[in-house]
Symmetry: D3
Subunit: 319 residues, 6 copies
């Protein structure tokens, strides 16, 4: 068996590899028989394929979350990669059947992320902000380091939430150095909490969906409520200037009302947080799209980037 | 002395009446001398006037909030009413010098409003909503019945907040009767709390401005935080379905993201609350503008109503 | 044979019931053979299904408007209900083959609607408005009580136009009671006529489409022209204030220019009519969507409601 | 006395000429005395000036519509021309005191315009359109040749409505020649009627304002109603295809809903009419602004042209 | 063999004609076999069809650009015309196998277009503009007379770029005659160059796509750069007023920033150029859509015309 | 004489200091006499004041660009600072009469800025970009280090263009370090050239206005033309991939078409350049507004920041 991954194969090449079933939906074909519309995943990305004439036993066997051995052919359908399934079977216990081996992860280990965040916490010198941040980070510790930052779009992988937060913190550090008028404590505290509400808005690290609470309140309102509760626990007034500023950082971080911020940024640090959040998300999305683009051509349309197709230069820099 | 009010005088008529100074700003005239740009108020409305060559003693005397005896002439300046000041003096203790006699008020007494709200509370049969609403109404009792519903625009008078809320509740009652699929308890609870955050967002019933908390968080986020705190006090889970629905009512009541709702209405009752809020505010604003408009002509532009001039028919119905 | 309706069946259940063919389009399958893309309807709603390998005789037989006996299986395709057709045949004369038995209707009888409207007409005390309204109601009597209020979206069922109008009139009655400054006659007259032009804009109660006149002029301009003609018949000046106000009610009822009103509401009553029209349509659309939604989940996207998915609470109130 | 006109004078030059008072409003100066804010007009354009310390007799004398002899100095105030009044008196009967001598007029005589329109009518070969157009042109004959095409903006001068219509007809002729697929009759008929409703929407050729009917219905709806009435008079069905097309031309001529067309152009000829209307109005507005602009500089902002300042080239072409 | 063209056949009619393969994409059918999704073209228009069970040899043979003999049946699929392929074979050398016989062309010969443009060049009397225009026309001579004016939408046929330019020039001539204040030289020069950058933005007359340069710079910026270079070659200052005006004509011709003009029209001639460009494109698109529409019905949606469906009158004028 | 600056004085304090006349416009007062509307400037900022009853000699003397000795009183007018002029005279030759002593400057010396840019140039390792950047920096050397970055808004001071560029370069350095997939050379080259066209668009470092070329083409198109010319000088193909990418960086740097970029960013580096440009400008504007704001209050409205008022916290961090 080969050691290649899904995206290492070219069109028309035959593959025989272990992959994870990311999703599998039963549908009725035009000939009246059931088939499975599947998505396969490994660390190189995900590709769809159709399993024709699926028996009810097949449907039971090949569920999302299972590792399978896939025999297929790499094809192209309307410009998107696709697998023509020749045969699949479940991986046995003696084979690499742990789903975790196949899911995409943040490019840092959980331990490293935890350490980097811990160090930065010391730079939040304002005691109120420091206490609230530590309290909430601890409350949602497990989720913070495993959840994605979004269902789709940017940082939609395990650990994406913490990784996105760390990227912003690194930018925040440089910007605070360059512009001394910025309150570093406030910018760091806001950066750490800005998306933490996603641990309640989203269902979890795998097969992520929105929770009812996420749909009805959204992560901005959820996190604001969490800060209010934290203040009560910690005996800090939730309408002291310190806490008003921190709540404002969270509430305004989408930048504009039409993007879901009920109040637009009215603090220098809130302006900066929104800009850095946007910058990191954009870089991540464009980079992700260019990863699958051939030099000298344009990427697929990125809907979250105003529907544009990005160009990968002919002699693209390799990192 | 006459018993007429500010808006009872026609252009060129001389007036000699007691009025309240609503605001008084010192400015420098083109001749280099100080003057006071004043706004006078009684229950018929407010009109501006300029007090030329104001001495420093005049400036000290004639502050906002003082009752004065005004001798002047009613004029017109670029289509707006104005008073040419011939002489002013402070009202003495034996004269009607209580500012409350001159400010506009809701057309219901505080006692009547309190009673009407109290009765309606019994129709909130869901115990969680009932307890949260009673708790918050009690916490902000004094403010709820005296604050305006806005700084300018609709219901910008003492008691306006409670009066606007009652108007919505009356509509809500009829709509719940007509459409049985509506959850009456939820609609009532949402109606009562929807603008209660204005008791924190605004500075008070007189010379109303926005507080720092109001500017940085807005009344939607403020009230959501209050519900969270109330739940903690009352030992109700703030993420039970009941409370999520109630929070959603408040969070979504501006109807669209661009109007400051971070989440748009996703409940039938939230759709209805937004519509009734809008309907009552529109009726109040148009009615107010038509009150000062002559039959057969158009009102001044109403900026909050898309900048339109409303028409008062020639044989306008008198209430 | 069972007494169940289309939406009473769960996925994978077999059905054997009479239904109406709402539409049937011939298409070419991937195997080159013709098939019929059908929609079946009864009073519980409508569901689509595909009839494979349709002969030319089948195509002739199974037209829109015919009642058939359907043997099939309830399935799900990409989240939408669908019928897998096992066999269909036309209903015979001894079977329930009247199409009217299967189409959705307004929840009031035509007689009741007629009676309710008749009574309200007496409250239009202005003689000009009363005469114009009676004249036009009589002219389009048959259509008014049978047409839908729209091709799709809200009140898209037989009698929907009158039912939507009556719902608005009921709201209008309550609002006129609550706000005495509203001219009840004008609000009622405008409510009755506001959508009456749809009797010309739309093709009829069944398989509703837009007429050429509907596309080129729209129901707003059509009804305005009808009022002008009615005035000529009734010897009323079409530029008297009374008639200008009535025409303005119709012309402005979409609320904003971008929604097709050439003039935006400039009368208090026009503001109210637009708001009530919107409110009733929204309630009807959300209610309709929630009818097919399971408690604790979100409805399908409602495009006419800003593309939102509405939530049906877990313990949803049953009417 | 000189033969120069208002715009022939340069800054600081003294003028002694007859002009018309276009408007004169009484205001109160900062010193408490009345003054007149006046606008003077002759065929070169209009300029404002302030008449200080106006006595009540002055106010009576110097009304809009009177011809006066003006002694003043040409000045500049914040970039706008202005007259410093040194003295004014009413023109006597032996002097040129006819207001018509001073108002701006269309650059064609009424007779010439009438003749050009008459000739073009013969090219409307469709009998229904021809009859309706002739009927309405005759009904509003006097107004059509004297009204302006707008209160301000383009063609805001006596006869402007007919002149603007003729300019469009000339363009329509060329376009019909170049593109034979265009129905010349329909394009001409629509061009003539498109703005004819302005004879009802506006108050008249002098001191033009909007009428109540104009505000409540707008010229589009007004003219559509006029066509309906004309059809009744002429025994033509108002829902025949011919009349639907003609009504559509009027109803859609603003091009987009947000510009006040309840229906957007759905006929080739309606697309062309809107484009030519826009083109002629734009050329007229830009030309008007450049007339008062020095070569090598930019004009004042034109609000109706997206707020732009237009450039007049250094060696600008003289006509 | 018949002499009919693709659009001469009615539904269900059998065709046996030579056509050009406009495009042919390999796809995988639901039965797992390859098929070709083809578009056929002749001078009556283009129609799609599917070639099932395509062998690898078929795929090699039936490429875009090849002429074939098509045996098929005209069908309708969801309202769009379609060909059911019964058999196809390549045209032989003795048959009409020149692709040029089948592609749509401008309705003027290249020679006639060249002549018409040449004549108009003499009316560009300003020597700088004349020289720049002649220089660039010569540089891109071949492309100018063969390229389309767009990839899809208006004038998307061979020679479309020159033909669209000539249509504008004809309109420009009439408008310059009617409005003498327009600088004819500038309007002509701008008209000729406005879209000339498309010879670099687009890939060529057949199977037109955007070039990398086209995507990254766009034809507006490309042409501006070309003018700068031409000036260097011709020793004309690129910042003289003459050249600034010409560059402004190109840079502003999309009319608004959101349509891709970095600067909006600030010259009378730039306003006119934008309007004429728009007018000709609109007429061409609507005419094209109506060509395939039956009298008394509405065309397909035109996305570039605000998504509207245009009406073809029952007794549509034949040219 | 004191050593204080304009903004060191509180309201009602008397000042006797040397300042620069930034602008002085002649206007006519309500009493008919000329006055000068002046703006005074020193390195603490600028304040306006009115010089009443100005003689023609005063008007000649007190021009923009002159240094004067000002005796006045600090006042407040509608919330804006203002000077009541008690007396002014021109500074003599023995006094500090060099205008440069009073104008605001970038917080780095020209020499330091030149040095920092020079160093960074070595990191542009791509030879084509390096040569073009060096060529253009040299061509506009003097202007680059003295011009402001804008007429008003951000970095509107001497040397502002270079300082803004350097701020972006510093951010670009950090971002390139953090995200190795970014092409540092391209980002640096684009950063340096992005606003260099302002040296042609703006008139100069003092009393900055837009040039005719600036208005008609804008700095984006100007700089693109400059790159094209530089390539010709340097014998580099202006359509090589290197140059297309560089031109795209300049052309797209406003981020959206509606902000004046004819093409939106399609390169990762272009996305980043736009974000950093925005970030630095925002920080500069907010910081500038907060400099004049008291702790615990909100700044004046910043129109370029969506009209918001920014909050300065009570215990604002001092740099």
């Amino acid at each position: 068996m080969e050691n290649k991954k899904l995206f290492d194969y070219v069109v028309d090449e035959t593959l025989n590899i272990f992959v994870l079933i990311k999703s599998a939906e039963v549908r009725v074909a035009k000939n009246g028989k059931d088939f499975l519309s599947m998505v396969f995943e490994d660390r190189s990305g995900d590709i769809s394929g159709k399993f024709w004439d699926a028996s009810s036993k097949d449907i039971q066997n090949f569920e999302a979350g299972k590792v399978i051995f896939l025999n297929g052919k790499r094809e192209n359908y309307k410009g998107s990669p696709q697998i023509k399934i020749l045969g699949i079977r479940l991986a046995t216990e003696t084979e690499p059947n742990n789903p975790n081996l196949y899911t995409k992860k943040a490019p840092m280990s959980e331990a490293d992320m935890r350490e980097e965040v811990s160090k930065l916490l010391f730079d939040i010198t304002n005691p109120n902000w420091n206490r609230v941040v530590r309290y909430l980070l601890q409350k949602y510790d497990k989720q913070f380091y495993t959840y994605p930052a979004a269902k789709t779009n940017h940082h939609a992988f395990q650990g994406g939430l913490a990784y996105h937060t760390i990227s912003i913190l690194r930018l925040a550090k440089q910007v605070s150095n360059q512009y001394p008028q910025i309150d570093r404590s406030l910018l760091y505290a806001g950066s750490i909490l800005h998306d933490l509400g996603k641990t309640v808005e989203l269902s979890g690290p795998v097969s992520t969906t929105y929770t009812v609470e996420g749909n009805l309140l959204g992560h901005i309102v959820i996190m604001d409520g969490e800060i209010v509760k934290a203040c009560q626990e910690l005996k800090i007034s939730d309408s002291s200037e310190d806490i008003l500023l921190l709540r404002h950082m969270i509430v305004s971080h989408h930048g504009l009302k039409e993007y879901g911020s009920p109040i637009e940024p009215l603090l220098l640090e809130a302006v900066v947080l929104h800009a850095l959040d946007d910058l990191d998300a954009s870089i991540q999305m464009v980079t992700g799209a260019l990863d699958h683009t051939k030099g000298g051509t344009f990427s697929e349309r990125l809907f979250a980037m105003n529907g544009r197709n990005f160009y990968k230069r002919l002699d693209h820099k390799t990192e």
